[in-house]
Subunit: 249 residues, 2 copies
DNA sequence: ATACAAGATGACGTTACGTCAGTTTCAATC
DNA sequence: GATTGAAACTGACGTAACGTCATCTTGTAT
């Protein structure tokens, strides 16, 4: 049993924070002295570490409380949600970044600038942004969205999906070696194996799938990880070689 | 002069927000009616647009207030600061992202996970790199350490790592079908291929590696993501079958 | 004159604590 | 046992940018 001050020494967590965690029921001390001073044990220290870690993942204290309290907690989907949330926040920041960079480019022309100039620039930028948004809305209709929803999602941590992602990623890495390279051909063979295991011989579906894949904008918008067109072309070439050789055997 | 409702119609900014901006002195209405109802003019609408835009750049209302009031405002260095700030925030999110991805890679192994498992994983993650490096130094020599770096790093989302994770995850899924099942044998073949591609024919190293793998404690200390022992045993059995058949051909 | 929409003000809630202020307890020393 | 200084306690207010009531007043059409 150690005092609250000792806890802050060992963990760096402030006294105020510990009292707050006690208050909201996230972490109660193991006990109290007669006079009401908080006392913590090893179990509490371990829990504190967990709380700290989960906080670094961007969870709120309320969420953490639920996690640590509920022994049936669904960690997988919880992490999935958090990942997509974090990625969305990152996307927002990236857009801000590019907007600021654009503004700064405009500013570089005249080193000195006043409010009026800035107002003009801002108006100009607002217009461009609006236009971009309209473009996006025009690009996708309802049918397409339904189709895309049927496809596997990159963030679904399931092993099958993961291997798809990894195989295509490796393909890109080895592109410079040419379509006949043995590593490439081995990857292609694995791709064909998996296609059959997953979809059987449903060629129509496969065709649709790769067609959607070939449109970078569509893929991106749905949260699909993008496959560049050159990788897709490379895969088609390597596939032909693979199928030819197979027939030859 | 238009009413506050009309402003919300035209800009989408809520009544509450407009009143708040009035309150903090960011944007006062052009005038008021006898009864005290706010009235806005064109200048105010323009200013609202500017406020909206600057908000999208991530500035606080206080900062925006300063900008719009100070005609000598130094936009250039202000934007530079904001840019570096945004980039730092993005870096933070990226670190969170990679941590979550790493955790999910570990989770892929066992589809179902409870609080205790999670606590172990968290402890594993809390351990810092130095400790891992020390332990690695004890177990492996210089050449082997280079090879170690080729091994999947749990935190990365790179394709090679993903395939290791996915292959082992699939292996677990198919365990019930027995070691001779064709799917299993195909996965094993792919594992052997990848081993050769990554480490060449350095059999001594491979032996050591799997030994470490088989000891949960050692694996943890080196920072490997955990593989359950039954999956490892299954893999060994399936591997033997695979190698026997290969010799037979 | 009446009714109803629109507007005003004021207050509390939100997150995860930081920062006082005022009071009480602990542990060591005299 | 008394004193004393450090440590701990509770309680309250502040933060950013509003959302969401509740209650009261004004504007306007009929």
């Amino acid at each position: 049993m150690i005092s609250i001050k000792e806890v802050t020494k060992q963990t760096g967590i402030t006294v105020r924070t510990l009292r707050y965690y006690d208050q909201i029921g996230l972490l109660h001390p193991a006990g109290k002295t007669e006079g009401g001073h908080r006392l913590y044990g090893k179990k509490e220290l371990a829990k504190l570490q967990e709380i700290q870690f989960l906080k670094t993942l961007g969870f709120s204290l309320q969420e953490i409380k639920n996690m640590l309290f509920d022994h049936q907690w669904d960690w997988v989907s919880c992490l999935q949600n958090q990942l997509t949330y974090i990625q969305k926040e990152k996307d927002k920041l990236e857009e801000i970044e590019s907007t600021i960079k654009g503004l700064m480019n405009s500013l570089t022309m005249d080193g000195d600038i006043n409010l009026i100039d800035m107002q003009k620039l801002i108006e100009l930028y607002k217009r461009n942004m609006d236009q971009r948004m309209e473009f996006r809305n025009q690009l996708f209709n309802e049918d397409e969205k339904e189709l895309l929803d049927l496809l596997p999602n990159v963030n679904s941590g399931d092993p099958d999906t993961l291997e798809w992602v990894s195989l295509l990623g490796q393909l890109k890495q080895h592109m410079s070696k040419g379509a006949q390279a043995p590593e490439v051909q081995r990857i292609i063979r694995r791709i064909h194996e998996k296609q059959k295991e997953t979809f059987g011989d449903n060629d129509a579906f496969l065709k649709k799938l790769w067609e959607v894949r070939k449109s970078p904008e569509k893929s991106q918008k749905v949260g699909f990880y993008p496959i560049e067109s050159d990788v897709l072309e490379f895969m088609e070439i390597a596939s032909e070689i693979f199928l030819n050789r197979k027939q030859h055997d």
